[in-house]
Symmetry: D3
């Protein structure tokens, strides 16, 4: 009975993409560990880019740096 939490930046993931993530992760747990899908939970969190930091700065600033 796995529980999976996926955190991504909020940048327009569609309902279909979320559905694909849920299906894909669940299939993976069935394939690799023989888990039952009926007791597999997946929770997706979308996080605003100002709330996500990497390399000591918010994501959007990080990307500007990376492009320089």
């Amino acid at each position: 009975m796995p529980y999976v939490n996926i955190k991504i930046t909020r940048e327009g993931a569609t309902s279909q993409q979320k559905t694909d993530l849920i299906k894909g992760v669940t299939d993976l747990l069935v394939t690799v560990l023989n888990k039952s899908p009926n007791t597999t939970f997946v929770v997706i969190d979308e996080v605003a880019t100002e709330d996500w930091g990497i390399a000591g700065m918010p994501v959007h600033e990080f990307r500007n740096h990376a492009q320089t």
Copy 2:
């Protein structure tokens, strides 16, 4: 000093129901483990149904299947 995180699907839980969850969980920790309520945190997350998966599909789709 427990920390409790309750994740539920976002489906109209009222402020009173949240208050009841917070009180109920805190009382439980006091009763079972003799924890101090003053250092017991409870955080409730409401998750959109398209962001919660079970059995390899989003919750709303799962419910449609279950009703068939």
Copy 3:
């Protein structure tokens, strides 16, 4: 289909106490929000006291201060 995570300091909680927490939280979600127990997960994490901080210090140090 709630997911509840309970974090407590590791200080000898027994299997029976954990069972009581699991049952108590699940009952609470049934009572307050009419959730189905069959799709309610509870995960308990025990955290070493040196890994839990409050008031800027590890728990065991905090308790020494509090007793002074």
Copy 4:
């Protein structure tokens, strides 16, 4: 830059199976959302069966019920 946390019951998952989970989830995020693998984290938590509850009871008790 996704962060994925996979919680499973501690029941002997091998290093290879964990490697397969890490690779599988990362590939999924690349395929579905075009995420960069280099900034994709996956953290696996194995949880003792007495610390995981479903249907108001610990997992091992739940399985005994289910088999009856």
Copy 5:
């Protein structure tokens, strides 16, 4: 490659304050544990005060009590 999650009540933290948190936590991990900032993630969650409980009640109620 640390992952840090900071949960605070939603009470008007500014983008600058969030940037300061992200920078401060990352610097701390570099200083104390010599971690690489490039693989250090920080995720900030703001939680509505009705969703955060302490001492068995929601935060806003707790503050009213504390002021009495």
Copy 6:
């Protein structure tokens, strides 16, 4: 009343380093957001390197790649 969770790979962080993390994060929340230290929790999780993935592989394998 913030709650901070710090996840690091398990590689011999000392009690003193954990104490420094707890103090440093708490001070940061006091300085940046004027939070009360008495209601600031910090929980540190050490994760085995085989349970932490980056770039689609476990940390130890990733480091071998990076050194090549």
